[in-house]
Symmetry: C2
């Protein structure tokens, strides 16, 4: 016996948002943010609530009074009541109390689907605040103001939010495009050395799988990046963000219903290493090691040639990235378990991106444990042989 009647539901939803690159966005002369808020004229002045990363507040002189003043100058009623400071870094994604605090901010300020929640901070704060914004009233408008290299070129321009749960990275979350993204390179000047460097690995990632000329450019600019040249970093960020958003819109699977996830190149090991080190290494640092591992694996499995492998590993080293980590020695089995968790999180068939050339990825559906172990050994030897940069 089968069904008696069938209805087929079928519809499409359009998403669009601007990613704006600017400087000094809270200077009253810069109307970028106000223009975003006023883009869709409403029947009344929209309400605003703001969440700021504690790390940004600590490093930026008078940030809060500057923000309040900015909005007041444009006739928006913003006071300390519309604003909370939230723990920066991975901790904000580990503790549901922070999500609760953002939900309370939304509720107390009667933020509705036509109001604006503005999140200012690193990728972790954007993930957590974005999650709260996505589940309140089934989604309030979120403006992201990323303040780290990684969040400006990668996490902040995409469509995902998350928090960690059951000890698993990003177990909870939704796909929820932001209302707009505003990148202000002024914020980058206060980053410590590790967070300045960290996000560069995501640019290398997207260059390696998509754009050899971008990789050439990064290789030629390691010195400028090490010298904290903000103009060069802006260029890197814009190019990385463009490749990233282009992939999301053109590759046909923005909400990741399939098994293929090219942008997660190097990430299976990265996520697990972050967790195993209790987030002592940053996401970007872990991604650098994860890419080094998967490129070496690509070489050992005869996909990419040795000169290309050398170029990639040396580029990481030249930028001051580590390409190995003690955990790969002491807990390799646990890292390899990350493959399962990676598959489980994405669902479907295990699909791992490797490289066949700089700028060209190639997907495989299984990895050999032995070859992973060999890749780890290779990286250790490579470091020994390149002590001048290691």
């Amino acid at each position: 016996m089968k069904y008696q009647h069938l209805l087929q539901q079928n519809f499409q939803v359009s998403f669009n948002y601007d990613i704006i690159f600017s400087r000094s966005i809270f200077d009253v002369t810069n109307s970028s943010l106000i223009d975003v808020i006023k883009k869709e004229p409403g029947f009344q002045q929209p309400k605003i609530a703001i969440v700021i990363d504690s790390g940004v507040v600590d490093c930026t002189n008078q940030l809060i009074s500057k923000i309040i003043n900015y909005f007041n100058q444009y006739q928006f009623e913003v006071t300390e009541a519309n604003l909370i400071i939230i723990q920066g870094g991975e901790e904000v994604k580990n503790d549901p109390d922070y999500i609760e605090a953002v939900l309370q901010l939304i509720n107390n300020n009667k933020i509705d689907r036509h109001s604006f929640l503005i999140a200012i901070g690193g990728g972790a704060v954007l993930d957590a605040v974005g999650y709260a914004a996505a589940i309140a009233h089934r989604g309030v408008r979120l403006i992201r103001i990323p303040t780290t290299v990684l969040s400006q070129n990668d996490s902040g321009v995409g469509v995902k939010n998350s928090m960690n749960y059951f000890g698993k990275k990003n177990f909870l979350g939704t796909f929820a495009p932001p209302y707009a993204v505003l990148n202000d390179s002024d914020f980058l000047t206060t980053l410590n050395e590790r967070n300045w460097r960290s996000g560069i690995s995501e640019a290398i990632k997207v260059a390696l799988i998509k754009d050899v000329s971008f990789f050439d450019w990064i290789e030629n600019n390691t010195q400028a990046l090490n010298n904290r040249d903000v103009l060069v970093m802006e260029t890197l960020i814009i190019r990385c963000a463009a490749l990233h958003t282009d992939h999301i819109s053109k590759k046909g699977d923005p909400f990741e219903k399939g098994s293929s996830r090219p942008l997660d190149f190097g990430h299976w090991a990265a996520h697990k290493m972050e967790q195993l080190t209790n987030y002592e290494i940053t996401h970007g640092e872990a991604v650098a090691i994860g890419i080094a591992l998967d490129v070496t694996y690509s070489f050992l499995s005869h996909k990419i040639d040795k000169p290309s492998l050398d170029r990639i590993l040396k580029c990481f080293l030249a930028l001051g990235f580590a390409i190995t980590h003690p955990i790969l020695d002491t807990h390799l089995d646990a890292v390899i378990k990350g493959l399962d968790e990676f598959r489980e999180h994405l669902g479907g068939q295990l699909t791992i991106m490797l490289l066949s050339d700089i700028g060209t990825g190639e997907e495989v559906h299984s990895l050999s444990n032995e070859l992973i172990a060999e890749s780890v050994q290779y990286l250790y030897s490579f470091c020994l042989l390149n002590t001048e940069v290691c």
Copy 2:
């Protein structure tokens, strides 16, 4: 000073799902459910976890062993470990512990984005389980098996999930289309009288704003519905579900970004009455009163004529619905506050659907408190004059 660079992100996401109307879906001879699960052939047998409404379990003989047996017959490994029973009714949406229990089920059974979470129950259980399914791994596949009239013709076929928070109805939730919906009219036979009747108000709602001939049909079938004629109820459900899904796909705003919400006709007062009575009246009962109120308001504000008003109110009474509630007498101010909360939840301009004719809605952007109070009085008088049905 303005921005230096702009990226414009723009993409579409397609959603499609089948709504299947069947009977005895856990009879081994009925492959409807298995066919849904096998629709997209994966690289391995997909994993399954099941959440069942306690009210359904209590009323259905041997349901759990029947379900387990069903899957086992089709070579799916389903045991008691893949299954939890969850509190039926609004309580499940009020207490986050139930969401936690579903998340644990998902985690323990390693349900990933290509696995299936099956929710069997009334609208409340579907809302709560749907919410957990939407936030785990950024969304696992959800098959809804609605077991009440309301969930089969309305809540279960749509794109929303939710839980109550901060004492506010549906404060948390997401837009998340299901993977499929399976309506089995066998479940309806065990509903108590109130829940059998309750969902009919959603059919009247959609008939009133969209389809006069459907309203005629309901009017002609009140007797059969009162006599619990399952075939007539199936017809009502299919027609209501079709109008509902049609609206979602054709009216261009499935994720409710705008201010207009025709399907929420009668709902502003309904939501508030549910909350004020501590959910002692069901959603459908509250919707009936909310519609009666808004239709009377439509009459008193000269939009709809008296014969049409009479027909509508008498139809509700003939079906055994109350069209007034003591709370409208004792707490009218509080009910009217519901208008604000309704606007706040949706955002944008207050937009309320009234009727200009049976089958034809008309939106307004404010309601007069005096006219609301007059409408309440009108309904009380109407009941007194129609004691034979009241």
